[in-house]
């Protein structure tokens, strides 16, 4: 069943960003931080899917921390639209991706095989280097598609994401993970569902 998500007003967008920033400022768990950013991106861009990929330059991969609770998923940066974004500095979008003549590669850009229609990709740059890539997608059942307005909207968020130290929070979490992997697994989902995300969801209702 097709559906249409209306674009947020300027006030709704800034309120959403401010609200999420408040929550993020009290959060130290790397996975939760990324999860909240992804939810915010989905809301701001009226997307059905969003993912934040962190660039590991040494291994030449982008990895996501929110697909699997225990394992990070890695995508090589030399292929697909995700790879193109990791190697560039410009955000861009591709509408009707399956019939476009873009560099889209399903196995890396949509390895979860979601029913996607349009894709927007934004590199987050810090000190002239790409540190992460944010990817958002509409569903086949979404009527709306991305426009230049969505790129402008996203630019509102870039300075804040640049300021988040994804690497150090990750290190902290990995120390905890090494010490008590099983306990973290049990608590992680509960923490996301009950405390932070419910506040975000309530805000966007």
């Amino acid at each position: 069943m097709v559906s249409f998500k209306k674009q947020l007003t300027a006030k709704e967008k800034s309120d959403a960003i401010l609200s999420s920033i408040k929550i993020l400022n009290t959060e130290s768990n790397n996975r939760n931080i990324i999860y909240i950013i992804e939810k915010l991106v989905k809301a701001l861009l009226t997307a059905s899917y969003a993912r934040l990929w962190i660039l590991n330059k040494e291994k030449s991969v982008l990895y996501s921390r929110t697909i699997d609770e225990l394992e990070d998923i890695e995508i090589p940066i030399y292929q697909g639209l995700l790879g193109k974004t990791a190697r560039s500095t410009e955000p861009f979008y591709v509408n009707d991706i399956k019939s476009s003549k873009s560099e889209y590669i399903k196995s890396s850009d949509n390895f979860e095989e979601n029913n996607i229609k349009d894709m927007i990709l934004i590199p987050i740059i810090k000190d002239k280097d790409v540190i992460c890539v944010i990817q958002a997608m509409t569903s086949t059942y979404d009527i709306q598609q991305f426009t230049d307005n969505d790129l402008q909207t996203f630019k509102m968020l870039i300075p804040y994401i640049q300021s988040i130290d994804l690497y150090s929070t990750q290190k902290i979490e990995e120390e905890i993970k090494a010490d008590n992997k099983d306990e973290r697994k049990n608590n992680s989902e509960e923490t996301i569902d009950n405390s932070i995300l419910s506040k975000v969801f309530d805000f966007f209702k």
Partner: protein
Amino acid sequence: MIIDESLLEDLGGISGYRASAITTNSGEVIISDTQKLKTDLTEVTATFNDIFKNAHIVSKSIGLGQAELMEIHTDSAVALMVCSGEDARVHLHGFAIFTKDGNITLAKLMLNKILPKAVSALL
């Protein structure tokens, strides 16, 4: 229904009318009227949508600009396809099938009138 199906009623009154639909640019049917058509319109629109999407790509790549309307004449029918605008936030396609002796000129005018109304209904 996110778009009122009565939008298609004006097409139904034109001579030679067989069927019509409004779809997303990816071919998902939003509203349709298939009362005078024996075949499955979902399949028909999906097929014509693919043809129309290819026309979008080709017309752009050879520098002709955006594809706005496409007309296919067969032995017995005329299929019309209209685009609401490729770069807009809402990119819809309008489809209509008429018999060959139908009032195709009026049908095209009506499709071009209906599609902006469908877009406005969403925004």
